[in-house]
Symmetry: C2
Subunit: 320 residues, 2 copies
């Protein structure tokens, strides 16, 4: 499939073209940027929802139920499931998670798993770029779902317009860790598995933590039983409310600018890694440099200085 056909296929919302395009992005092909540049003017219509929270909280179940609500309303929905990446192999750990349900056969739903990190480390730019492709393909809602609560996952979800943080009653013990980052990105909190003991306690705990932060938008704390579909309509309603809140002020633009700034920063870091750091690591005498430092014949600061002289003198000159 050539680039022109791919772009046309995306515009027509054709599954095969979309899947091909995402693979191009994921493999970081040379023409990935051309593709994104060609489709960019078709984007800007989708609404991005991030879903995160500790493992086992029921994020996938809630995602599926929300998607079904939107499908009832005739909306097209894209799901990007972001998997943690192995620090060694660089690949996704969970592999392509297959949802064993009727969403798979619904042409109004597109599901794709992506690794959380790019081939050279760092937050994967593929997540944001895949959202652009789905946006261009006419998906009105795009859900970015991450496993875990690590820094990488938080950063991914920050790309979203509305972020839903899902937790469970039992997570109370880990609340300190839960707080780290997560409290600050949630626009909407859901205590899932809300028929278990400790549900009300967990809800109050979150409310109390929210009391400590002054926010224009006070995030609601909802209770759900995802597996039974309880509380799903309330989640959808609150997403709409948050969207209205963002749209009624300049907040949506401010947030999207911030996400775009991050995206630009990531792109530059990626180019620096690929063009400068990679070249240093692949240079023939780099191993000797490391050996000299390890044996204390030199030190990292002297050697980094020398490496900058050789590979990126412009970086050194700028240092103050």
């Amino acid at each position: 499939m050539n680039l022109h056909d791919m772009v046309q296929g995306i515009q027509e919302g054709k599954t095969r073209a979309i899947a091909k395009a995402i693979s191009v992005i994921e493999r970081e092909s040379l023409y990935a940027n051309d593709l994104l540049q060609m489709i960019y003017s078709m984007t800007g219509n989708a609404y991005l929802i991030g879903i995160t929270g500790p493992p086992g909280a029921g994020k996938s179940t809630i995602t599926d139920k929300i998607v079904k609500e939107w499908r009832k309303q005739g909306r097209k929905v894209g799901i990007i499931a972001v998997d943690p990446t192995s620090p060694f192999s660089g690949g996704a750990i969970l592999g392509d998670r297959i949802r064993m349900n009727d969403l798979n056969t619904d042409p109004g739903v597109f599901i794709r798993s992506l690794a959380s990190r790019g081939s050279l480390g760092g937050l994967s730019p593929a997540v944001y770029d895949t959202a652009l492709i789905l946006d261009a393909a006419g998906f009105e809602y795009i859900i970015i779902e991450t496993v875990g609560v690590g820094q990488t996952e938080v950063e991914i979800v920050e790309l979203a317009d509305t972020t839903i943080v899902v937790t469970v009653p039992e997570a109370g013990d880990d609340i300190q860790t839960f707080k780290a980052g997560i409290m600050e990105i949630g626009d909407l909190f859901v205590v899932n598995k809300g028929d278990r003991p400790g549900t009300e306690k967990m809800r109050l705990l979150i409310e109390n933590m929210l009391d400590l932060v002054h926010l224009d938008w006070r995030p609601p704390v909802l209770i759900s039983i995802g597996a039974e579909g309880v509380g799903i309509i309330e989640i959808v309603e609150q997403v709409n409310k948050h969207r209205e809140y963002l749209s009624s002020s300049t907040q949506l633009t401010t947030d999207r600018k911030k996400a775009l700034g991050k995206k630009i920063s990531l792109r530059l870091q990626y180019l620096f890694e690929q063009n400068v750091i990679k070249r240093i690591f692949e240079s023939s005498d780099f191993d000797q440099v490391l050996t000299d430092i390890i044996q204390r014949n030199s030190d990292p600061f002297t050697e980094v200085d020398k490496l900058m002289d050789r590979f990126c003198p412009w970086l050194k000159e700028e240092e103050d």
Copy 2:
């Protein structure tokens, strides 16, 4: 305290000089590099141990008990407790965790909390640099303890010679997430709170996962009850065994070269962020660039190209 006095104080193992030096590192003062360069030749004698695992697994308790074992043998031990960082404020979430026990008053033990990320984002270089200072100050064992199992935490622990992964019987449900990264960095696994139901099941689960990976060093899976001191001596013994294994081959040098390579890469990324990306973000018309992209008057690819022309043309030229 001037730099010369600080270096001398470190060499003499004086607590005040060590604490001052770590603050210099943490604040990223202009003379942090001078300090590190001056002490570097005094380093290379310490053995670094990483401790990680899910929240609530009992890492701090196990750390304290291991430290006491080494203190009985007269060894000096440093503990670096790495706290998750807020993606917004940039500060550590948990703050300076104070251990309410007798280790605090022991001059042979030095405890310090650090944030997991640096002031400009990215893995904090302060963790590695603090280990260098403690190394120069004559601490024979340095424990790097992290909260959580995120990518940042995994990368920090990768700096260690021996990594201990602590988990609890109940973590079984989250094993998929637990696998992510953690399985591959563990040199030693500990199922803590080993008097709870599911201990043997958890141990077998880890053993089974280890069966799938071919490793020269087969990580032992131990059971402990940290609070009662059960299983601590076995952990210390296995750390020694792993150290012997590493020392008997070229593995220790290979691992330390790898960690040093990461450190060099981080330093270069830091300089790039500080000298290039920061300058772009602070430029007077950057907000207008973002607005143009958001309004689809332009696209990110065209604008990144233009930004590179203005701020880092050398990066563009090198792109293939």
